[in-house]
Amino acid sequence: MIAWDLLANAVVAGLLLGGFYAAVSLGVSIIFGLLDIANIAQPAFLILGSYAAYVMNSTFGLDPILTGLLFTPVFYLLGAAVYRVYYGSFERRGEESLRGLVFFFGLLFIIEVSLSLKFGVDYRLVQAGYIGKSIEFAGVGIAYRLLVPCLVGLAMTLALHLFLGRTFYGRAIMAVSQDRLALRLMGANPVKIKTVAFGIGIAAASLAGALLVTITPVIPSSDRDYIGRMFAITVLGGMGSIGGTLVAAVILGVIESLMATFYGPSWSLAVSFGILLIALAVRPAGLFGR
């Protein structure tokens, strides 16, 4: 006998999780999917955003999502700075592959250990009015702490989609991903465009981090849980396809939720890793890839 209400709850939770996972992966979708830069330090920026929200929340009582939004410019500048270093040290010399990867890994490592030194390994969480409350919908309980991040995630996805399709910089970023020469002919400077894109990617990650700490407590090594998820979603959705990212995120969210409900939570990481491997083996271009 299938426990229908258990199933329904799991699916709904998975859908909400999917919206959040989309927020988590948007940055990678831009940086890896469009700019083709394998920034494996992305999860560290996610957690950095979580801790920023935590600090503001515990010190000033600020709502975490508000903090996330307020801090977006800060993280944008941080991302721009990181890209400049990356460009100057590696991209310009054509040495991206090995050393660029090691650079980002070093960054991931330094950020995680720094957080460990500063905050220790206790779980940190935030307090907000809506955490702990939930609403009933069609017999299924929907927790606010899942619903709000999901909605923000959907809003972020829409905003990014509009940005890439309708604004000059957005279209320039799409152009960079397809044809560097055409971009130069357009009169735009590819380095500047990529700096903007990288900054946006990091800002997106940090905002997603604020959403993360709303959903669940974090420790410095929480970033490792998201490495597999970010890249699985980006590859499955199709590199650089924002819509694809959302679809893949929801798929992953639902599968993880079902696995967690019926087999226990420790298998969720294996799910994303499995999806990553399968996507790479069967269709590396993803569901909506070029």
């Binding site: 494996i40 090995l98 050393r99 650079f103 490495i227 890249f231 890793f273 491997l277």
Partner: protein, 311 residues
């Protein structure tokens, strides 16, 4: 051939020195520290065969190392296998893991291999945590055999690790100087051109991942007897991930000497540092040094020496 004979005699001399040192009545802590440093020589050398020679970055060193360790734990628990069997089995299982991950991802760009290895450690750790036979998340106590061939068990393990280091370095040196090594260098420099010049790039890449995996598993197999209490957090320790990268990068990735230099320098520094600073601070410094080297001196110490010599 005189070349091979010379290598062999150097190797034997090193092992003999190891045995000699082991039989001295020195502070036992030195053997613990020495074990770790020689273990890192194996790890750094193994990593470099794939990373330095072929140009494919493996971020999942803990997975391969821990798989070797847990294979040993499994064999100790089940059939009380002797050390040589543990080492061989640990190496083979990790070699298979290397071959598997390679087969799934090496036909794509190198980035995907690296991303897959990054996620690999975490997933494998989750699986081990759920496997109670080898201790799960609580860990497992392992009792050392009562009669080592000579000295105390720790000094015996130390000598074994010296031997394994010699084997690893000899293998790396042999590969580097052979036609395989030249093919790997070609595919590292420009994979497309190498393929068009007749180099079977996929096969060489799979060879490198398998050998690298084998040596990492070999490094991990004696670990249970070394620590006597095996639990996932120590076997899958992040130290291995970052040191496996930092040691070859600091020493120099193009030659077998680089990882040895890096392992000895960084390994000794860390052993000295653990008594004065916290292990977190230790990791932080290694991370900073790694980034500094990759940005400022990507060819490592060997590269700096070469530039000073004016070559």
């Amino acid at each position: 051939m005189p070349q091979a004979a010379r290598t062999l005699s150097v190797g034997l001399a090193v092992v003999a020195a190891g045995v000699l040192i082991a039989s001295l009545r020195v502070n036992p802590y030195l053997y613990f520290a020495g074990y770790v440093i020689f273990q890192y020589i194996v790890i750094a050398t193994a990593w470099n065969i794939l990373g330095g020679y072929a140009g494919y970055v493996n971020f999942g060193t803990p997975a391969f190392f821990a798989l070797g360790a847990y294979t040993a734990v499994f064999l100790i628990q089940s059939i009380r296998a002797p050390l040589p069997v543990l080492i061989l089995a640990g190496g083979l299982v990790s070699a298979l893991l290397g071959l598997g991950i390679g087969y799934l991802t090496l036909r794509l760009r190198g980035v995907f291999f690296s991303i897959a290895t990054l996620a690999l450690s975490i997933v494998l750790q989750t699986m081990i945590i759920n496997w109670d036979y080898v201790g799960g998340s609580r860990g497992l106590s392992v009792i050392r055999p009562s009669s080592p061939p000579f000295g105390s068990y720790v000094t015996f393990l130390f000598t074994v690790m010296v031997l394994l280091a010699v084997v690893a370095v000899t293998a790396a040196r042999f590969i580097e100087r052979s036609w395989i090594g030249r093919g790997l260098a070609a595919l590292r420099d420009n994979e497309e051109a190498a393929e068009c010049m007749g180099v079977p790039t996929l096969r060489l890449k799979l060879f490198a991942t398998t050998i690298s995996g084998f040596l990492l598993g070999v490094a991990g197999a004696p670990f249970p007897y070394y620590v006597t209490f095996v639990e996932p957090n120590s076997a899958f320790n992040l130290d291995y991930a970052v040191n496996a990268l930092a040691m070859p990068m600091i020493g120099g990735t193009t030659s077998w000497i680089g990882p040895v230099i890096g392992a000895v320098l960084l390994g000794s520094a860390q052993q000295l540092a653990t008594v004065t600073i916290s292990s977190e601070m230790n990791l932080f410094i290694v991370g900073v040094v790694l980034v500094a080297f990759v940005v400022l001196a990507p060819e490592g110490i060997l590269g700096l020496v070469r530039r000073l010599r004016g070559r």
